[in-house]
């Protein structure tokens, strides 16, 4: 079973994402911010991270840069999932090492296809 870490400070978004991911047969874990996400990754690296942009403590970009700079035995796929919905933000995320980008709001078809594109679904 593939695993996904959902990183978002909104409980509602985490719940919606979890629901969709579980129907796609993912084992789902959650984190409320970038720092919590990093310690989850240290404990057990997921196959894919679904990542919000703006979060307290540590935002998505800082998490992503830190993650990509660290020498983990394996790196997860990272799919941004955010309301920062313009081309400039999307390019910045890809440049920082994101694999895909989902603009909120999204639905099951969108998320499933992004996971297929990065090769985890």
């Amino acid at each position: 079973m593939r695993s996904c870490l959902v990183v978002d400070d909104s409980k509602v978004i985490r719940k919606v994402a979890r629901h969709i991911l579980e129907t796609l047969q993912f084992a789902v874990d959650e984190a409320e911010d970038g720092r919590e996400a990093l310690s989850r990754c240290e404990a057990k690296m997921p196959d894919v991270v679904l990542l919000d942009w703006n979060m307290p403590v540590m935002g998505g970009m800082e998490f992503l840069r830190t993650l990509r700079a660290r020498e983990f035995p394996s790196q997860p796929k990272v799919v941004f999932c955010t309301t920062e919905n313009d081309a400039a933000h999307i390019r910045a995320a890809i440049d920082a090492g994101a694999d895909e980008y989902v603009m909120k709001p999204f639905d099951r078809e969108t998320l499933e296809s992004k996971l297929q594109i990065v090769g985890v679904a």
């Binding site: 919905n85 081309a87 078809e109």
Partner: protein
């Protein structure tokens, strides 16, 4: 106001007569939600139905039919099937057509264009491979409204990312005012959109190498479905590939097509499937 059985039957009959689409009883609830603005304008469902029956104002019946159609679609819908089509199936056609360097593709029931553009983008991304080829993509739908939208190639933020990877999105779409995304003219010009019903006259015979007819025939009655499959077969070249929706099949529906033994999930003209099967087995 409650939708009476009589009104539901009249609307369902109109829809089926114009498009072949049947509204199963379990989906009748859709009528009221789909027709909400019309019902509001006319005061009640029954008054709307009376106006539709006499088609006054002119065009009302068309508009009601369009509102009742299901236009759900997205880019590369059913990705594994598109991978088959644009991978091995297309390579086979490329070999078969190396002499004429001509490919013709038909999306029947194309809705707002995502399906046809999914194919067009792929060709646009493989320019050196298709250098010197003529690739025609024709996309048709019974609904004028969706064809107009398809021609514009302009999608909402929600639509543009449904099925599409971010790389392709940034490459082929420009961000516009109001969270709209505009498809590049280069791709837009590759597809010719036409308002045409599958129930109307068939297209020219033996002309298409790839036919997509996806999530359209689902709600046709068995007889009509068989007729349409026969027409698709007539419009197909002998080596053509047919792609249906994820839950659809030709098995038990028609003798005109059979499973493509090299690309399971796609279909070939029945006569073509047999020799390919022999070749694949040898």
């Amino acid at each position: 106001m409650e939708l009476s059985d009589a009104s539901a039957r009249i609307l369902a009959a109109l829809l089926e007569a114009r498009t072949g689409q049947r509204l199963a009883v379990s989906r009748r609830w859709r009528i009221e939600s789909a027709l909400q603005p019309f019902i509001r304008d006319h005061g009640s469902v029954d008054r709307l139905v009376a106006a539709v029956a006499s088609d006054r104002p002119a065009g009302l019946a068309d508009a009601v039919v369009e509102a009742l159609l299901n236009n759900e679609t997205f880019f590369y819908r059913d990705r594994p099937a598109f991978d088959l089509l644009l991978g091995p199936a297309l390579s086979r056609l490329e070999r078969l057509r190396a002499g004429t360097k001509r490919l013709r593709i038909w999306c029947a029931g194309c809705s707002t264009g995502q399906e046809a553009y999914s194919i067009a983008m792929r060709f646009a991304e493989q320019k050196p491979r298709w250098q010197g080829w003529t690739v025609d993509i024709v996309a048709t739908d019974v609904s004028r409204g969706v064809i107009e939208r398809a021609r514009q190639g302009r999608y909402t933020q929600f639509e543009v990312q449904r099925g599409l990877g971010v790389g392709q999105m940034l490459r082929w779409f420009d961000e516009k005012e109001g969270q709209a995304w505009q498809l590049a003219d280069e791709v837009r010009r590759m597809v010719r959109f036409e308002v045409r019903s599958l129930l109307d006259l068939a297209p020219p015979p033996a002309s298409f190498d790839i036919i997509l007819c996806r999530n359209v025939l689902l709600y046709f009655c068995a007889d009509r479905r068989r007729t349409v499959f026969a027409r698709l077969a007539a419009a197909a070249t002998p080596e053509a590939v047919l792609m249906l929706g994820a839950g659809e099949t030709v098995i038990g529906q028609t003798d005109a097509f059979a499973v493509d033994p090299e690309c399971r999930g796609l279909y070939l003209r029945a006569a073509a499937a047999a020799p390919v099967r022999l070749a694949a087995a040898s």
